[in-house]
């Protein structure tokens, strides 16, 4: 009772030789198939090097190209040879030249002799798994594929299209249910010989010869016909990337591979000297009886695939520059934009910083300079406060800021006097919480001591800009959490909206706000608006303000902070 190894080899023959010797030294016979693409002298030298080993045989050489029949033909002839020449073989293990046994061979032999009738072959119906790359799943069994995918891609694609167009469908031989799975299997002698000696084999072979990637379906389908006990998993640890190519193991995976308890791993980088040294000595025969547990390796490779296909949200860099709407998140973290608050309240910024434990900036997009929190000239990531730098790429500025300060929520003020380009970015961003008190830009104008004609000009300009901005925020494409109040609406009951916003930021858990920000004294504001109107400039964004001083239910005196219980 032993296990026979079939080894398919095409490069790194020195490594294949090393691994073959490792198998035979534990009494496992090895049949090697060398790709016909390997030139004759190299093959001869390789054969010569292993000539002294009585347990090594070489099978008939076929030309193996990825996705074609050659690999199945190679496995067939090598399997036939090993079953014929080594009668004591009870299981046959299909492996490649870049496979590496991770556990002592004896453990594999014991494991298999405890399960003499079990076939380890990953085998699933095409409908149930999302493995396939390139969109050909069921079709790989119903179309013909005479052209090489690697060398004659156009012909390959064209021929597929033609067949689809004319509705061509091949007939699957009766009784067969197409299954697919990893090409690296370990089958018992009974099952394997039944497949190889099947009276219908010629018909099956003819059929599979024109199936796409038959090495992932030939044995997987046929073993379903004969096996009494299929374990649908591969004993070979082999992970695939998003292009369907195997991940490669390097020296730095040593500990990971050790802990995986898998019997064989693929694919090993041929120059991973440390791995070959560590695993090709039987010194560490601890004789564990554990089941293979590739969980951790699975996670690492799944993460790598995720990074390659989805990336890190909110990151823009040299190798990630997503197209419009392919960002998977415009920014990395939630942040808040306040419009009109700092104008309406005297101490809004320090108050907000205290109430929410966030970093509260001033107008980041102000025309003269970037108003970072606490008057800083630089911020995380050495982002500069130069307005020119910021306006050169406002979007990069915002996304960099949010990326650089991951872990700390950012709040900033925005208004019609700021660079408006960035509004297009945050309005589309689900991470943005945008709260607008429309028309509040009029408060600083009202408070300022300037000529009325200048004020009127600014008011007209700001009103126009803010109106455009509100349109952007109200677009159906806007994904930000937008809340808009007119100023008149807001000052009627200011604490309610503020409570909602702060709760949503949710930094300090579930407490009611005890202290409100102080509102600017608005006595005379109504008259100010009326004056603008009298000058022909109708301010409409702030809602309806009565001309008489003070809004109706503003507690008086308004300067005193009030408590909300």
């Amino acid at each position: 009772m032993t296990v026979g190894i079939v080894m398919l080899v095409h490069t790194a023959l020195n490594r294949a030789e090393q691994v073959a010797r490792h198998w035979t030294s534990s009494g496992c016979p090895v049949v090697i198939h060398v790709d016909k693409n390997v030139d004759r002298p190299t093959f001869k030298a390789f054969q010569q090097a292993l000539a002294g080993d009585p347990l090594v045989r070489f099978s008939k050489r076929h030309r193996c190209e990825w996705g074609t029949w050659g690999i199945v033909a190679a496995s067939q002839s090598a399997s036939e040879l090993i079953l014929k020449q080594f009668a004591e073989v009870s299981h046959v293990y299909l492996s490649s030249g870049s496979c590496l046994p991770l556990r002592p061979v004896q453990e594999l032999i014991d494991y298999l002799s405890e399960r003499p009738r079990t076939d380890f072959i990953e085998s699933a119906t095409t409908a149930d798994v999302p493995w396939t790359v390139g969109g050909l799943d069921q079709e790989r069994f119903t179309l013909r594929f005479p052209f090489s995918w690697k060398r004659r891609r156009r012909l390959f694609d064209g021929y597929v299209r033609i067949q689809r167009a004319i509705g061509f469908r091949r007939k699957i031989p009766t009784g067969l249910v197409p299954h697919m799975g990893s090409q690296w299997w370990c089958l018992s002698r009974q099952t394997l010989s039944a497949i190889l000696q099947d009276p219908n084999r010629e018909e099956y072979d003819r059929y599979f010869r024109r199936v796409w990637i038959p090495d992932e379906s030939y044995f997987q389908t046929l073993s379903r016909q004969y096996s009494t006990n299929i374990e649908s998993r591969s004993l070979t640890l082999s992970k695939f990337n998003f292009q369907g190519k195997p991940h490669i193991f390097y020296d730095d995976h040593l500990q990971l591979l050790r802990r995986s308890d898998c019997f064989v791993a693929r694919k090993i980088w041929s120059r991973a000297e440390r791995l070959y040294q560590a695993f090709l000595c039987d010194g560490m025969a601890a004789m564990k009886k554990t089941e293979p547990n590739p969980g951790k390796i699975d996670r690492i490779f799944a993460k790598a695939v995720e990074r390659r296909t989805r990336g890190r949200p909110g990151l823009y860099m040299q190798s990630r520059m997503p197209n419009w709407d392919w960002e998977n998140g415009l920014t990395s973290n939630p942040y808040s934009v306040f419009q009109g608050f700092t104008e309406l309240f005297e101490n809004f910024e320090p108050w907000l910083a205290k109430a929410t434990d966030t970093r509260v900036h001033g107008h980041l997009f102000a025309p003269e300079r970037v108003e970072f929190a606490n008057g800083q000239t630089l911020i995380n990531g050495a982002l500069s406060d130069s307005a020119k730098q910021r306006d050169y790429a406002p979007r990069s500025f915002l996304t960099s800021l949010i990326w650089n300060t991951r872990g700390e929520r950012q709040c900033f003020q925005f208004g019609p006097n700021d660079n408006q380009d960035v509004a297009w970015v945050f309005s589309r961003d689900p991470n943005a919480q945008v709260s607008v008190i429309s028309g509040a830009w009029a408060v600083p104008l009202f408070k300022s001591n300037r000529n009325f004609s200048d004020l009127r000009k600014d008011a007209a300009k700001f009103q126009k800009i803010e109106n455009e901005h509100l349109k952007i925020l109200r677009k159906s494409t806007a994904k930000a959490k937008v809340r808009i109040w007119t100023m008149a609406e807001f000052i009627e009951a200011p604490m309610e909206p503020i409570q909602t916003i702060v709760d949503e930021i949710g930094a300090i858990s579930g407490r009611r706000l005890t202290e409100a920000p102080t509102m600017v004294d608005l006595t005379g504001f109504g008259q100010f608006l009326q004056n603008l109107k009298n000058q022909g400039m109708h301010p409409y964004l702030m809602g309806d303000f009565p001309v008489e001083p003070g809004p109706i239910n503003q507690p008086s005196p308004p300067r005193k902070p009030y408590l909300v219980r």
Partner: protein, 328 residues
């Protein structure tokens, strides 16, 4: 574009006549060797560490153009058994800032090889570079059918004034110049050539504060599986054919990428800036060096409170300056 590529080829061939072989060991190059190509000018002090750094990464052969050095560069380099050396006294600027020479070297010796094109102050860092050789990377790229590999230039600087700490021959410049800017970069797509145009970092922050548009480009594609039909167009910022510039993913994912640590800002910098200004051999009429010379006089410290201290490639990966992509 094809015409431009042809023009590059002809230029390279024309300019190749300016090159004089000092030490031609190119017959030692084996078919799968990884080659490094570079142009140097009075940089002998940097060379010992530079060569050793890349030897350790697994570069097999160096092909270097010496542009009129007067500091013993030639004598030093012709003593190395893995360096092929050419000499020229011709104008760096008129050879398209050395690109023509590089293109000729690539065309003549690089065909079918992985070639790394870096300046003597650029140090290539890639995912897993502390445990895997550059050959592991190129094998993986081959396996994934990727022809070119991007690495952004990351300006490194010391804390304090540039001339506080003198650099000594053979020393690792990042022993003291180990600070960098981690998050002030901008990326724009260049529609014409398909590459990304990256700017930012300390140079933009300090020297180009009010004219960021003029700040130097940081995007580079130094590692290419060369084919004699390829050519560099502008430094190693972009290549032709354009497909080679596509080292970034546009559908949300991240491709693997590296970093070129840029050890430009050492005590040697001020002297270099003066010399290069006099030579007027640099891009945009040495405007860059002019800006530096101004900046160096007035505000000589690049370091700031938010500078990040360099630890290893994993740190750069976490900061989002480079990516492992699909490599694990």
């Amino acid at each position: 574009m094809r015409l431009l590529r042809k023009r590059q080829v002809i230029r390279a061939w024309r300019k190749s006549r300016e090159l004089l072989a000092v030490q031609d060991l190119t017959d030692r190059i084996r078919s799968d060797d990884i080659l490094l190509m570079s142009t140097v000018h009075n940089e002998k002090i940097r060379l010992p560490y530079f060569l050793n750094y890349y030897r350790d990464l697994g570069v097999n052969h160096f092909l270097i153009v010496d542009n009129d050095s007067t500091d013993g560069t030639e004598a030093y380099l012709s003593n190395q058994s893995d360096v092929s050396l050419w000499y020229t006294s011709a104008s760096y600027k008129r050879a398209n800032f050395g690109v023509d020479w590089m293109n000729w070297l690539h065309r003549t010796y690089g065909d079918g090889h992985w070639t790394l094109t870096v300046d003597p102050d650029e140090f290539f860092v890639y995912p897993f570079c502390d445990t895997r050789s550059i050959r592991a990377l190129t094998d993986w790229l081959d396996n994934s059918a990727i022809r070119s590999f991007g690495a952004m230039l990351l300006d490194m600087y010391p804390k304090g004034q540039l001339d506080e700490q003198p650099y000594e021959e053979g020393q690792n410049p990042f022993e003291f110049a180990h600070w960098f800017d981690s998050g002030n970069y901008t990326q724009k797509k260049n529609r014409e050539f398909g590459n990304l145009w990256i700017q930012g970092g300390p140079r933009s922050r300090v020297f180009f504060r009010d004219k960021p548009k003029k700040a130097p480009a940081l995007n580079k594609i130094p590692l290419v599986k060369w084919n004699k039909k390829y050519s560099y167009v502008s430094s190693t910022h972009m290549l032709l054919p354009r497909g080679l510039n596509h080292v970034y993913d546009e559908w949300g994912g991240e491709m693997a990428s590296g970093i070129l640590l840029h050890a430009k800002f050492l005590d040697t910098f001020a002297a270099k800036a003066r010399e290069e200004m006099a030579r007027s051999q640099h891009y945009a009429a040495s405007a860059e060096y002019m800006a530096y010379a101004d900046g160096i006089k007035s505000q000589p410290e690049l370091w700031c409170k938010f500078s990040e201290k360099y630890i290893n490639w994993r740190q750069l990966e976490i900061l989002g300056l480079m990516s492992k992509g699909n490599w694990a």
